[in-house]
Amino acid sequence: MSDVRIRHRQGAFTLDVEFSLASPWTVIFGPSGAGKSTVLRILAGLIEPDWATIAIAGQSILDADRGVAVAPGRRSIGFVTQQAALFPHLTARDNVAFGIRGLSRPEREQRVAAMLQLFGAEDLAARRPAQLSGGERQRVALARALASHPKLLLLDEPIAALDDASGQDILARLLALDVRVVYVSHDLAEIWRLPAEVIVLEAGRVTATGPLRAVLATQRDRLLQSLAP
């Protein structure tokens, strides 16, 4: 069980949320500007909130009251956004190996190969990001994020810029993994089939939580009506 309570002010925007990550997959759904990405960046340790208590898999990584603030690299969190953010001067292999420390060289090479294979990217190992397509970059980025076996994987619209086939293939590979995922999206079609709990975020507040299809059914019906001729 993971518990998250955050209060954070950024200019005129106020984020005030409290939720649990009880399911293996949790989708944070909401319109642009609702604060979804801010929540992920706070979870990852990239933004220091005004006040927060965050526990991942029972371990406190941020507790403003007790002065706990675990550094981003020690939170056991992987983070992949729409922009793959691969290191452009490194090959796909070296990108994946970047976050793996404390292993012998053969063990590290083995882990890198296994992670690339997991996302069907084993043939891309020697290429640099500039030589990869958007979908290939995302596969390498996911392999890199998961290489150190994080307890939590944060995905911020990871397939939004990809074609449907590539996006669905990546989602299928992710669903087959045994890792807790927080998935941010504002695209109902993209998340509809995910076996997930959903947290609906609007203007920095949680407005609904529960099983994804049950919670978002009304939104889907509204969307279908708007698409009807």
Binding site: L46, P72, T81, F87, F98, S148
Partner: protein, 222 residues
């Protein structure tokens, strides 16, 4: 041609460039990444030598390194000789005078690196030193080369600071720019012309190498 002055000038420029890269890289990294309130002050101080007349900087350094200050006496005690009117003193003066030419391109280069890459490096467990060594520096090679070229050529051509701190001691502190001054004072214009052309050549070659490399890299990226 004053070969002694040529050798001393090249040695001074090379030493100054190495010292400036060693100082400028961590300083520029701090400037590019800090949220400290001291940052504007540090930026202003490191940029100050661009605006200050070289003689002003040279004068204060001469006073600071001389026997009238505790610092100057301490340095003289530690080194066994005063820094003023020595090669080491010239290096100190040159480093301070050319500091902005190292820090400005380096911090601009570090600023230009996509922050998303630095975020990823942090999440993947890299500390500040590893991020500098494995991400920022490899992605800022143009800036490092630009800083080195600017520091070298700027030091080769400096006059005021060198004259104030080092005087005009042949083989010890007389650089090419001071040799030109001496030659003009002696009405030896043909010699001054040859020495001046040498300085123009050094600066031009350094800049040509810099721009040729940049042009080649840009062509590969198109």
């Amino acid at each position: 041609m004053d070969l002694q002055a040529l050798g001393l000038t090249l040695r001074l420029a090379a030493t100054t460039t190495l010292v400036l890269l060693a100082l400028g890289i961590p300083l520029a990294h701090w400037i590019a990444s800090t949220r400290s309130r001291l940052r504007p002050l540090v930026e202003a101080i490191t940029t100050l030598p661009i605006l200050l007349p070289p003689t002003v900087l040279g004068f204060y350094l001469l006073v600071l390194l001389g026997p009238r200050t505790g610092f100057g006496r301490l340095i003289a005690h530690l080194l066994g000789h005063p820094l003023a009117f020595s090669f080491s003193g010239l290096v100190v003066g040159s480093v301070l005078y050319s500091l902005p030419f190292a820090v400005q391109p380096l911090s601009a280069g570090f600023h230009a690196v996509d922050p998303a890459l630095l975020d990823q490096a942090r999440i993947l467990g890299a500390g500040r030193l590893r991020i500098l060594r494995e991400i920022l520096l490899p992605l800022s090679t143009r800036s490092v080369i630009a800083a080195a070229a600017l520091c070298f050529t700027h030091t080769v051509g400096e006059f005021g600071v060198v004259l104030m701190i080092g005087g005009d001691i042949p083989g010890a502190t007389r650089t090419l720019s001071i040799a030109i001054y001496d030659q003009v004072q002696d009405f030896n214009y043909s010699q001054a012309n040859r020495t001046s052309l040498l300085l123009v050549g050094i600066a031009l070659i350094a800049l040509l190498l810099l721009y040729a490399r940049r042009s080649g890299q840009e062509a590969r990226h198109v």
